[in-house]
Symmetry: C2
Subunit: 331 residues, 2 copies
DNA sequence: GTGAAAGCGCTAACAC
DNA sequence: GTGTTAGCGCTTTCAC
């Protein structure tokens, strides 16, 4: 049978209150008593039951993370560093994978907010904040990760998109490129929208042709890049921006399959999920936009814990900066 | 304030028992009563509290997964398909990342088995089964994933290693390669040991030189491949097997950086985490060993649910088969 | 066909 | 410095 706190109390000859307090260091216990209790605990092999405890206290010591695609290294890395942060504070991480489906996200939101977790990290695939908000109980701690909304009312941690994209287009123009195409992720996502906006601004400012046909979107999953690339090539692009790490890796391999070599045949700007540098193919032949992925996860972890512990803390929108690293330039 | 089952009962004018039974379909409730209850639930916006429920029933509807490296796509994919399987049955997934540290695995085991989850999936980094077993309460449902132990007493789901490695060495020998090197993962892991054993057998059977210096191990993380490769090249290898997906990706990029091209300069056999085919670099120039990654995750999910629901089911060791796909051969 | 009520194991007033 | 005890919200016997 299961060993309970009363078994320990009985064996140690004290009350359950004392046992509880010794375990949790929540009021003074004399050295002698403490010893008896620890002794009894060891002897019985007692472990406090986590679900009884969280039922009683209302604290689950668990954070949920709703992710669009766990098998994508970008999110894998974010999860990893968030988990680091959380486990250091004694919290656990529950994962829900949506595969970029709004329905799946709805289900997960409903499930996780029903007393399963203390707070929620969400890299949302929703097309509007209201749809998300509707599923979150009032006052429930939530932090948006990577993807934001213009009208959001909860804190977020994301990455700056404007500057690196804008700069990269300028540099392409300076190199004499004229037909610059762009491949975005899912059109409804803030990341995609911001990146395309930055591209539009730069194209206009640099005096490049503003053709809607050079702006294409995939679905943020890996297999969506090739059809976009085919179209852009057909439309005579001499440079292409790929705005998502996974799609960018596929791009390089796909172009190679067609005998197209970066730099020689086509200038490429690609988002990289993280900075492997030397071990990456053509790392010296494509302009790269490096996102602070680890930092994103770590900050997300910090922020959600902050909100869980102090729900009335001011709502912050943290924006981390990505780095633009043109090929051939070190550091 | 929080809405409880008694609030619903009061508003509907029935007992809490009836409310509970209506929600859970656990005994007959007349259409009329059911209607009143549902009405009240809707009106109050009631959601049963998950932690109260799991406290009461002892069922958490949650499975833990102890993983060596979430940011590795191999495990990301396994997690994804396991989560699919679990969420379809109304279960959640808690992740713990060990980063191949035995201490971290110990902590996670202790934490997760203390009433947090109904069962555990473990891709263990332990050097012995006994060390793992010592931390698992008797009768606690556990399924080992990917990595097994000779003396294990719990069920496992893993991948066959012998045949593809053996065949690949034979084929290298047939192509006239003589100095075949191998790069394994962490030496203590079953996967590494099995792969090296298969390599040894094949080398002996094919009459190739049996040199211990051609057998090198990394740490199963991505940056460990290059030093091994340098050594093998120095020792004059004309073919190399890389026994781990992540290390294999790095290998290809690393060799390119050194101007070494697969097939032309060096034959390469590499584990691939999953079968992207066309979108992969040099997919047509390296022999590949494709592991059934999705299947591994799915089966792991199925197996742990089986054990959670019927703890006395026979202990099965499921071994899935990897496919050996020599370059240039379709299908 | 439905209700009353006893807990699940723990924490935290409150009492001494 | 320690003990008593009332619940947390739910499920589930047992009774009618």
């Amino acid at each position: 049978m299961k060993v309970t706190i009363s078994d320990v109390a009985r064996l140690a000859g004290v009350s359950t209150a004392t046992v509880s307090h010794t375990i949790n260091n929540t009021r003074y216990v004399s050295g002698e008593t403490r010893e008896k209790v620890c002794q009894a605990i060891r002897q019985l092999g007692y472990t406090p039951d986590a679900s009884a405890r969280s039922f009683r206290t209302g604290k689950k010591k668990t954070i949920g993370f709703i992710v669009p695609d766990i098998s994508n290294k970008f999110f894998g890395t974010i999860i990893e560093s968030a988990e680091n942060e959380l486990s250091a504070q004694g919290y656990h991480l529950i994962i829900a994978n949506t595969k970029e489906s709004m329905e799946r996200e709805e289900t997960s939101l409903r499930l996780l907010t029903a007393g399963l977790v203390d707070g929620l990290l969400v890299a949302s695939t929703m097309d509007s904040f209201s749809r998300l908000e509707a599923l979150i109980p009032a006052g429930f701690p939530v932090v948006l990760v990577d993807r934001t909304f213009e009208d959001q009312t909860c804190p977020s941690v994301s990455v700056s998109n404007f500057q690196p994209i804008y700069r990269s287009v300028c540099r392409l123009a300076a190199r004499g490129k004229r037909r610059v195409g762009i491949v975005g992720g899912l059109p409804r996502l803030s990341t995609t929208k911001e990146r395309i906006a930055a591209y539009r601004a730069a194209v206009a400012d640099c005096g490049l042709p503003q053709e809607e046909g050079l702006i294409l979107c995939g679905d943020s999953m890996e297999n969506s890049a090739p059809p976009c690339l085919d179209q852009l090539l057909e439309r005579g692009c001499d440079a292409i921006l790929v705005c998502q790490g996974l799609m960018a890796s596929v791009t390089i391999a796909y172009l190679r399959g067609k005998g197209i070599q970066p730099r020689r045949d086509l200038d490429l700007v690609s988002f990289v999920d993280y900075d492997t540098r030397a071990y990456e193919f053509y790392y010296d032949q494509v302009d790269r936009i490096v996102q602070p992925v680890e930092k994103l996860g770590k900050t997300a972890g910090e922020q959600i814990l902050l909100r869980v512990e102090r729900p009335d803390a001011p709502v912050a929108e943290r924006v981390l900066t990505s780095v633009y690293r043109p090929c051939g330039e070190e550091e």
